[in-house]
């Protein structure tokens, strides 16, 4: 028994000393650093998931980096040293898979778009058609990022040509502009509207429910800490993860 | 041309410079004294380039009430202060340019001055390429071209090599005689005072200690410095 404890302690020390690829320690669980690249729209929910995961596995430090999914995908392909990638649509994940760098992506959540206006609805917006009004300040994501391409698809489906004032690089930048009152209306994810709380008001768009974006997550092939990383991915896909995601407004995969 | 009557106090950090004297038209007064005595401050006060209290009367006009650019007091500075970005012709033409407004008109009007001071050959050169003597002639021409009522020269020979001083001194004496108005030359050199000035004012520590010709100062010096200066011994 003592030999086993000593061996486990030695392995644990080895795991703490170098966050490189380690064989999974026999009794202590995952350790080390897990670097996660996640879409901007996952900002608050992944902060929450990471904190819970770290509470359950004290030896692990989850480092989160948020951004536009497309930019993150390009970073992974350029060799960014990350362990996990969670993107806001499947085509961005495909960039990483096509490069052979994603190990078995799994969809873990869905999201839908919502029309938001700044608190008090100064523009008097009631629906998507208002986005065509020239006197309103409107912000969208640029079509190269997932929320932008989703917004474009939604607007095309409804037949609205929006008079856009700024095309931002990620959805949180759009959200900030609405929260500050600098734009009258924008299309962001339902989860972002919830996260912004009282700073924005949401307006449900019925057609948006049929246009779901699917969020895949994948362990990366070049992960430095595949054991802990896989553990985190499992956590996101597991029961606790499902509960937290639903609570933030994400749909089931 | 009128008489210059000065009765003023120039405040300075260590001591005030107090001077009262007259310079008739056509006469050259030399102001001599040890370094730091306040000689240049007197010139600056007359020209309006520093704060001063008192009167600077030219005839019946009080220059002290006027800003420097309206006093009609020409100055040849110790460092000459030629405009480095202008050639010789534009330097000498500067006063005309200021008065007439046009660069070309000023450049034409300045030809007589260039000839008088023998600068025609140097007209297109820039101040940086001139010798000490040449630069001094340019500074003098520029001051004279403003047609001032009073002419002030601060250590005019200071920037010159010893070899050229005699020749330049003789030329300068000639131009001063031609000037016609009251003129003041500040110098610490006895040879300069002898060649250029009709009378000298000896200044020590901000006060006038003696006035007279060099001979008078040599005969009856008021202070030890004046005695050494007037007799030609090293000061």
């Amino acid at each position: 028994m003592r030999a086993l404890a000593v061996a486990a302690a030695a392995l644990l020390l080895a795991g703490c000393a170098a966050p490189a690829a380690d064989p999974e320690p026999a009794s202590e669980g995952p350790t080390g650093t897990v670097t996660v690249l996640a879409a901007a729209s996952l900002t608050d929910v992944f902060d929450d998931l990471a904190a819970r995961f770290e509470a359950e596995h004290p030896g692990v430090d989850v480092v989160l980096s948020y951004g536009g999914s497309s930019a993150l995908a390009e970073q992974v392909v350029s060799g960014s040293p990350a362990d996990v990638f969670a993107s806001a649509n499947e085509s961005t994940m495909a960039i990483v898979s096509d490069a052979g760098l994603a190990v078995a992506p799994v969809v873990f959540a869905t999201n839908s778009l919502e029309l938001v206006v700044s608190a008090g609805n100064p523009g008097g917006v009631t629906g998507l058609a208002d986005l065509a009004r020239p006197e309103l300040a409107v912000a969208l994501c640029d079509p190269v990022v997932p929320c932008g391409s989703a917004a474009q698809r939604l607007l095309d489906r409804v037949g609205v040509v929006a008079r856009v004032d700024t095309l931002e690089e990620d959805v949180r930048a759009v959200l900030t502009k609405v929260a500050l009152g600098e734009v009258d209306a924008a299309l962001v994810y339902r989860t972002d509207a919830i996260a912004a709380g009282a700073d924005v008001e949401g307006i449900e768009v019925p057609e948006a429910a049929s246009l779901l974006t699917r969020y895949p997550v994948a362990l990366l092939a070049d992960a430095r800490n595949p054991a802990a990383a896989q553990s985190f991915v499992d956590f996101v896909l597991g029961e606790v993860g499902r509960r937290v995601l639903t609570g933030a407004g994400f749909g089931a995969p | 041309m009128s008489v210059l009557r000065v009765e003023m106090t120039v405040p300075r950090s260590a001591f005030d410079v107090i001077a009262a004297f007259e310079v008739p038209a056509g006469r050259v007064l030399g102001i001599v004294g040890p370094n730091g005595a306040g000689k240049s401050s007197i010139l600056a006060g007359i020209a309006g380039l520093v704060e001063a209290r008192g009167n600077v009367l030219l005839g019946d006009r009080d220059l002290a009430a006027l800003p420097a650019e309206q006093r009609g007091v020409g100055v040849v500075f110790q460092d000459l202060l030629l405009f480095p970005h202008l050639d010789v012709r534009d330097n000498v033409a500067f006063p005309q340019r200021v008065r007439l407004g046009g660069r070309r008109a000023a450049r034409e009007a300045v030809e007589p001055w260039l000839a008088r001071l023998d600068l025609a050959a140097l007209a297109d050169r820039h101040p940086g390429s001139l010798s000490g003597g040449q630069a001094q002639r340019v500074a003098l021409a520029r001051a004279l071209a403003a047609e001032p009522d009073v002419l002030l020269l601060d250590e005019p020979m200071a920037a010159l090599d010893v070899e050229v001083r005699d020749e330049v001194r003789a030329d300068l004496a000639r131009h001063l005689r031609d000037f016609g108005g009251p003129a003041i030359v500040v110098t610490h050199d006895r040879e300069d005072a002898a060649a250029l000035a009709d009378e000298v004012l000896a200044v020590e520590r901000g006060r006038v200690v003696q006035r007279g010709t060099l001979a008078e100062l040599a005969a009856d010096p008021a202070t030890a410095w004046v005695a050494r200066f007037a007799s030609g011994r090293a000061v």
Binding site: V144, T166, G181 | P84
Partner: protein, 265 residues
């Protein structure tokens, strides 16, 4: 001066410094998609961004000159002020230089945005600044002006101000002194400052994207377009980067010998 031999330490460290500055540019040029470059350079994305960047940077430089030269004169006069106002003035001019540009953009937004301190009054008058091209000019002017102010102040300080005294003795009024003596003496410094200002305005990103937003042809300057292109189309991003590099080099070379004795010989 006798020629001093360059010691090994200086050579090695200096060489490393040079490599750090030059090699990334070499990498950029080497990895450029030269075959597709003509098509990329002719695309709307690149042309719109280029025209917008050049126009706004030029406008910003003009604004910097009009406002910055008098500010530099003020700064040079402030040596006669009491200590506290003098230091405050200098600190105020320095702040945009040391502030991270995004913070500058946020500050501009809080001042001139629709809900901003001044912006709300402008909005009542029907003037909305964010998301317009003038907003780009404002953001660029904010970050670039200190460069011009300090260059001009340096020139004012090193120019022999006694020439102004001589000019006064020759009958020049204060305005004439400034026009005929002071300005020509500081002109090389002004030109150098204008070049720095233009370059800084051209490269400005953080304040622009935060305050003015990002829309093609209106507010999406070369740096912003390049950043966005990195998301999806690295070839376009590289093309945009090359255009920026080329413009910067042209600006530097065009003003070489004539105007910048200190910066480039």
């Amino acid at each position: 001066m006798p020629r001093r031999r360059t010691g090994p330490v200086v050579a090695i460290l200096g060489g490393l410094g040079l490599a750090l500055l030059v090699l990334p540019l070499v990498g950029l040029v080497a990895r450029a998609p030269w075959n597709e470059l003509p098509a990329l350079l002719g695309s709307d994305t690149v042309l719109q961004a280029l025209v917008l960047s050049l126009g706004t940077a030029a406008a910003s430089t003009v604004a910097c000159l009009v406002l910055g030269i008098p500010l530099a004169v003020l700064l040079s006069h402030s040596v006669h002020w009491p200590v506290v106002p003098r230091r405050l003035l200098r600190a105020a001019v320095t702040v945009p230089m040391v502030l991270p540009p995004v913070i500058g953009g946020i500050a501009l937004l809080l001042l001139l945005g629709r809900r901003g301190l001044l912006g709300q009054w402008l909005a009542d008058l029907g003037l909305a600044l964010p998301f317009t091209t003038p907003a780009v000019v404002i953001a660029q002017t904010f970050v670039a002006m200190p460069f011009l102010v300090f260059a001009v102040e340096g020139a004012l300080r090193s120019a022999d101000r006694r020439s102004e005294v001589a000019a006064a003795s020759l009958g020049a009024s204060r305005a004439q002194v400034f026009r005929l003596v002071t300005l020509p003496l500081v002109a090389p410094g002004i030109a150098a400052g204008a070049v720095l200002c233009f370059s800084r305005a051209l490269g400005e990103f953080g304040a622009t994207i935060t305050f003015a937003g990002s829309f093609p042809g209106v507010t999406r300057t070369l740096p912003i377009a390049s950043y966005l292109a990195m998301n999806s189309d690295p070839d376009t991003a590289i093309a945009l980067a090359l255009v920026l590099l080329a413009v910067s080099l042209v600006v530097l070379l065009a003003l070489r010998d004539r105007w910048m004795p200190g910066v480039v010989r």
